[in-house]
Amino acid sequence: MKWITARRRHPLAGYVVVILALAFVGVGYAFVAPSADRAQAQTVAADAPDVDLREGRQIFTESCASCHGPQGAGTETGPDLTNVGAASVDFQVSTGRMPSMNPDAQMPRRPTPFTQEEIDNLAAYVATFGEGPAVPTNVPATAPQRSDFESEEEYEAARETYDAAYEEYIAGGDTEAGMKLYLANCAHCHSWSGAGGALTDGRWAPELHEASPRQLYEAMLTGPGAMPLFNDTTLTPDEKQDLIGYVKDLQAEPNAGGVFALDRIGQVAEGFVGWTVGITLIVACAIWITAKQRAHD
């Protein structure tokens, strides 16, 4: 209704639209992001017990060995993978951070070129290099995608199974413990809403909207980048579930205060909107009220 109101004052409508667009494009890119996390691709087939180590090796040789060395012992451009474990591989590859185009830069999240099956094979192969955390297969991974299924029914069925497992996992956490754990150990980098934050030397803590519960779990297990580790003795699997449940539940919650949540950035975005939208609109009204009615000359 506000839009209709604004449009009626046609001389200013253009400015208003531009300013609104600036405000919302400028501060954030996707305020609907919380609902997007389950749309991210891949199948749920990670539990498949039969892995193909041979395919894993092939992928490793083609896509990883040039930086990490033929046996994963590391080179100047890539770290040693001997004891990273399958969880690390699953996290890095399924979030699209590996294989990386630029070994010196922190990789943003992006779609992975591999199927979950290929990732499982690769992870199983890398796990043979040494000791490292395994993939937490009982934690829901990313949601199944339509393109991986031949018929609509199969997809619907897989989706239903996945959603049930997801809901069960998220709902199974204890809010208070999860909130305390998240705010005490995660929020200082990833922010209260999982929107991420700045680190030193140009690094950043990524936002957590698209990350699946399993990816969050793996990140805690393996400490990607500069992130510290939270292994299963420091934070038990149940505690991890509390924590993941808390942040995913928070992210999925609709914004009670209005459709524009300013990407949940908080006070900086609010101040920006207050000045650009609020003050501008009110001043526009003042200009209308006091506008000269007839030319003097």
Binding site: T175, D249, L250, F260, Q267, E270, G271, I282
Partner: protein, 550 residues
């Protein structure tokens, strides 16, 4: 006299009041009060109206809010936080949000109105500053305005702290850290304010009292005083036909201005409510309750405290020192208390500082055009640049993340920026002002460039200048004569006056010289006396006016 006699009932009410207060004459005088028309004269009204909105919504919120830090287990209708340990203050804010119809809307209106309140005061003050409307006889009203602004910062900070959510508690924590840094007495002040150690159980009830009673009371009194002084002295006006230091031109209060101002109240209210309806602000139910052991990235205060936050971020610890083992954390003291103190002193003292420098003791009712006071304008822009950079520095982590700049680099950019920025801004602004003055002088002398090119019989091309309108001439001629203060002022016998010999006297003379030296004099410039106004007379080249000798 009037063609429509007042209705009987209205006359009865009028007589009733007048019998008791003798108001007919005063009433008519005040209804005839004249208000000059300009959109920038309505900026202060935005602040007044948002203050009214704050009072209304604030009263609504107090009906349910419990200023208590007693820890309880939440058992309310907001399911996500059921079973969570929190303070009663936080729980009652959840109650307002999710159990009281319109409660969330009122909370958001209250918060948006607070942001708009301070923002509108800021631009109102900038308008008053740049147009010199703070000059005699309005210095006291400027001072009152400055105090209102500073008190509002504090009022806003305290209000932000009340819901006891994670960021608001951290605001209180930072307040506590800043108080602790005060040498010798810091720990005592902090203990007395918090009733013990941080966070204790007293701070929210105490801030609540300050936020809903003491500070708003003072603010209300100051706002009333501000408005009464304005009413008594009448509004300044921009230069224009018929507008002089002795006469004000504008719309009378009754009927037109009252209706316009009333309409503007509704506009202000509408924009604030519109924001509150659609743009989420301070979602405390998502933040979670305060705990002193947790923190979030991207933590910022509301915008008006941003300059202090920025100062705290970029001020390095190089100047910290210890006296006999006692710590003096300069990196907290200067940005935490010094920045606000400096702003307060600069704002409150400015009218008197300028008066002292320029020796200007006259009454001013016609506003300056900013270009005609180049040094003041440049100083104002420089100060705004410092403020703006500090404000931006308060969000350097967001900037670093959003634009992928190294975090430490942003700190360094702002550290250098707050020193270099104002200097550059001062020089650039002053040059622009002087350039505009020269153009004004040329327009006054030669009329305006019509865009028509004509060829003279000699084959030369000239641009035809046309006579400016009387209104334009009036505005251009509003520039006051430039006082020339001779630094080496001597009397007829070559002896310096006693005042000029003292240190302060010398400083004052030098400042006065610096303040006025570049200002371009319009003295002796007659409108439309230039050569090529009537192009038949234009024999020489187009550019030979005396203004260019500067």
């Amino acid at each position: 006299m009037s063609d429509t006699p007042a209705p009987k009932s209205l006359r009865a009410v009028g007589n009733f009041i007048d019998d008791r207060f003798h108001l007919a004459k005063t009433g008519e005088k005040n209804l005839r009060k004249v208000f000059p028309n300009h959109w920038s004269f309505m900026l202060g009204e935005i602040a007044l109206y948002s203050f009214i909105i704050l009072l209304l919504t604030g009263v609504f919120l107090t009906l349910w809010f419990k200023p208590s830090m007693t820890e309880i287990v939440y058992d309310g209708s907001y399911e996500r936080l059921n079973g969570v340990l929190m303070s009663e203050a936080y729980a009652s804010t959840l109650h307002i949000t999710f159990d009281v119809r319109g409660g969330l809307l009122m909370r958001q209106i209250h918060h948006w109105a607070a942001l708009i309140f301070v923002a509108s005061m800021t631009i109102h003050m900038l308008r008053v500053f740049f147009t010199g409307a703070f000059r005699k006889p309005r210095e006291i009203n400027w001072t009152i305005g400055a105090i209102i602004l500073l008190l509002s910062f504090v009022e806003g900070l305290f209000g932000y702290s009340l819901p006891d959510d994670l960021p608001s508690g951290m605001g209180v924590r930072i307040l506590q850290g800043v108080i602790l840094s005060i040498p010798v007495i810091g720990t005592y002040v902090m203990m007395f304010l918090f009733g013990g150690e941080f966070p204790g159980e007293d701070i929210i009830p105490r801030l609540y009292m300050l936020h809903i009673l003491l500070i708003p009371g003072i603010l209300l009194a100051l706002i009333v005083a501000h408005f009464m002084i304005l009413w008594h002295q009448k509004h300044t006006q921009y230069p224009g036909t018929g507008r002089t230091e002795k006469k004000v031109v504008g719309t009378p209060m009754y009927p037109a201005f009252a209706v316009k101002a009333g309409g503007f109240f509704f506009f202000t209210f509408a924009v604030i409510v519109g924001l509150s309806a659609f743009v989420q602000i301070n979602p405390i139910h998502l933040f979670g309750p305060f705990t002193p052991t947790s923190i979030t990235s991207g933590l910022q205060p509301d915008w008006y405290m941003g300059f202090m936050e920025g100062a705290l971020r970029i001020f390095p610890n190089w100047f910290d020192f210890n006296i006999a083992g006692y710590a003096v954390p300069v990196a907290v003291l200067v940005p935490g208390l010094g920045s606000l103190g400096l702003l307060a002193v600069a704002l409150i003292a400015w009218p008197w500082i300028e008066q002292w420098i320029t020796r200007d003791r006259e009454h001013h009712n016609v506003a300056d055009r900013p270009r005609n006071a180049p040094t003041r304008t440049a100083l104002g822009v420089a100060a705004s640049v410092v403020y703006g950079l500090l404000w931006l520095a308060g969000s350097n982590d967001i900037i670093s993340e959003t634009f992928s700049i190294n975090l430490y680099l942003t700190t360094w950019i702002f550290r250098v920026g707050v020193i270099v920025g104002p200097v550059v801004a001062f020089i650039v602004t002053k040059r622009i002002c002087l350039g505009l003055q020269r153009r004004d002088r040329e327009t006054l002398e030669h009329g305006y460039e019509s865009g028509t090119i004509e060829q003279l019989p000699s084959g030369e091309f000239i641009e035809v200048h046309k006579t400016s309108s009387p209104e334009t001439v009036h505005v251009l001629r509003s520039k006051r004569p430039v006082p020339r203060i001779d630094v080496e002022a001597t009397d007829e016998e070559g002896v310096e006056s006693p005042e000029a010999r003292s240190v302060m006297g010398r400083l004052r003379n030098r400042l006065a010289h610096w303040y006025t030296k570049d200002n371009i004099s319009f003295e002796g410039v007659e409108p439309h006396s230039g050569h090529h106004l009537h192009h038949g007379h234009a024999t020489a080249g187009a550019e030979q006016e005396p203004a260019n000798t500067h």
